[in-house]
């Protein structure tokens, strides 16, 4: 099926040029295009102009600077999976990236695009939330940093203002372990029915985030408080964590799952992800990149 809608296409050479173009009415940035081109076919969007941002140097790169891991917005999920820096400093993101769609999509889809599409089931949302990442937004007046916690406003709705362009993400670095669990209808490619990211630092500081169980990816403060200072949670604590997790989400019933299954499974996933994260923190547990939900059962 063809794309019926007609539009202009410009490949921006500099970030300044990109920002100028994006300030025009109906201008939309094009990165990997794996969401955007599908939406164009469906007639879900009808931009006047696509501004191709793939050539922008500023949006590329994976490096450690000033104690932070910098991930350029144009970094593809395949690059995230393969990056030794991500594997070392943000293994949870690598684990989540491995669950994004399929190889053919991961070779093209970018983390910036995933965060800007901002669907409630986006796979990079929960890991970036537990990493306390900052979104670097380039604007005509300079770079603005938006904390991940304030990024998602609702389904397909973010804190990005018109004319702004996500340049990349900075993630604080520190010793930690984590696990990303994704509930899918089967083992193949699927949008998350629900997802859970758990990160624990050496001192027992826990962070938890959920996807697909609320209008936007969100943190789990109740579970985080419960686990504070705990290094190896016992069964009783895990059961409590599961119950708390179920209480701090707001899942809906849709085509992919009933609300109640989502809720119950978030409990199971929180338990298994915490177990896996704790094991990994202690140098045990499966290597990153496994299907945590399937591997972590005991």
């Amino acid at each position: 099926m063809s794309i019926a809608h007609e539009f202009d296409y410009v490949k921006a050479r500099t970030i300044k040029e990109a920002l100028q173009l994006l300030a025009q009415p109906g201008a939309v940035p094009l990165a990997g295009g794996t969401d955007l081109v599908a939406w164009l076919r469906d007639g879900a969007v009808s931009p006047a102009c696509l501004v191709d941002i793939k050539a922008l140097r500023e949006l590329r790169g994976l490096r450690v600077q000033k104690g932070q891991l910098w991930i350029g917005a144009n970094t593809t999920f395949a690059e995230i999976i393969e990056s030794p820096l991500v594997q070392k400093h943000a293994p949870l993101l690598m684990e989540a990236a491995g669950m994004v769609a399929s190889v053919g999509i991961r070779n093209r889809a970018t983390i910036g695009g995933n965060i800007c599409s901002a669907v409630p089931c986006c796979d990079s949302g929960p890991p970036l939330l537990v990493y306390d990442a900052s979104v670097h937004v380039a604007t005509a007046r300079g770079v603005r940093k938006i904390p991940m916690k304030k990024w998602f406003l609702g389904p397909r709705h973010t804190a990005l203002a018109k004319g702004g362009l996500v340049a990349g993400f900075s993630l604080p670095i520190g010793k930690h372990a984590g696990a990303f669990a994704k509930l899918k209808r089967y083992r193949g490619e699927d949008l998350a029915q629900a997802s859970v990211a758990v990160r624990v630092a050496a001192g027992g500081e826990w962070r938890v985030a959920y996807g697909s169980v609320a209008p936007r990816p969100l943190r789990g403060p109740k579970v985080e408080r419960l686990l504070k200072g705990v290094k190896s949670p016992d069964d009783a604590l895990l059961t409590k964590a599961a119950a708390l997790a179920e209480s701090e989400i707001a899942p809906i019933t849709d085509i992919r799952s009933s609300a109640i299954y989502r809720r119950l499974m978030v409990g199971v996933m929180v338990k298994r992800a915490i177990q896996m994260a704790a094991a990994r923190l202690g140098g045990q547990g499966a290597a990153y990149g496994v299907h945590v939900l399937e591997e972590a059962g005991s």
Binding site: A4, F7, N107, E189
Partner: protein
């Protein structure tokens, strides 16, 4: 209309395209390249897989204007000098049934073996998970890719031993 030039199966090709034409549409409709197939038009099935600078991608989700200056390989390019070892094995083992997914599967498997010559079964399955096949149940595909990888690895080892 915009003119674009890119490498297609090893040769430079130039073509005029509209911004709203996908790479898949242009390959099939304007360049006579018919092996990338349209199975779903939204990146779910992998039948339109091509290699873009060596990486397996969905040509239905890429605008033709985006590939200016890049290199595109389709199944037409893979077998230009006769069937590859992988293709030979796919033929000998009677792997495919209807064959519609075959171009995408062969490209995805070729890209995998180029990057990772000794993949595990799990890696083969993961690499091919985006290429839907409704006929074979995947078993003959996965077995053949693993067998070819094993054979190639053995051959390259024995070459090293000789030299």
């Amino acid at each position: 209309m915009k003119p674009i030039t890119f490498q297609l199966n090893g040769s430079a090709r130039s073509v005029w395209v509209e911004p709203n034409e996908t790479l898949l549409d242009v390959l099939r409709g304007k360049l006579g390249i018919k092996t990338p197939k349209e199975g779903c038009g939204r990146g779910d099935c992998g039948a339109c897989t091509v290699l873009l600078d060596g990486k397996a991608v969905r040509s239905c989700l890429i605008l033709a204007v985006e590939v200016e200056g890049q290199s595109v390989t389709t199944l037409e390019g893979v077998g230009q000098k006769g069937p590859t070892a992988l293709q030979k094995a796919f033929i000998e083992n009677n792997v495919f049934q209807c064959g519609f997914c075959a171009p995408g599967v062969i490209l995805a498997a070729s890209a995998l073996l180029a990057e990772n010559p000794k993949p595990s079964e799990a890696e083969v399955r993961e690499a091919l998970a985006g290429n839907l096949c409704r006929c074979t149940g995947y078993e003959p595909i996965v077995k053949t890719v693993l067998a070819v990888a094993k054979k190639t690895a053995r051959q390259s080892t024995s070459r090293r031993v000789r030299s």
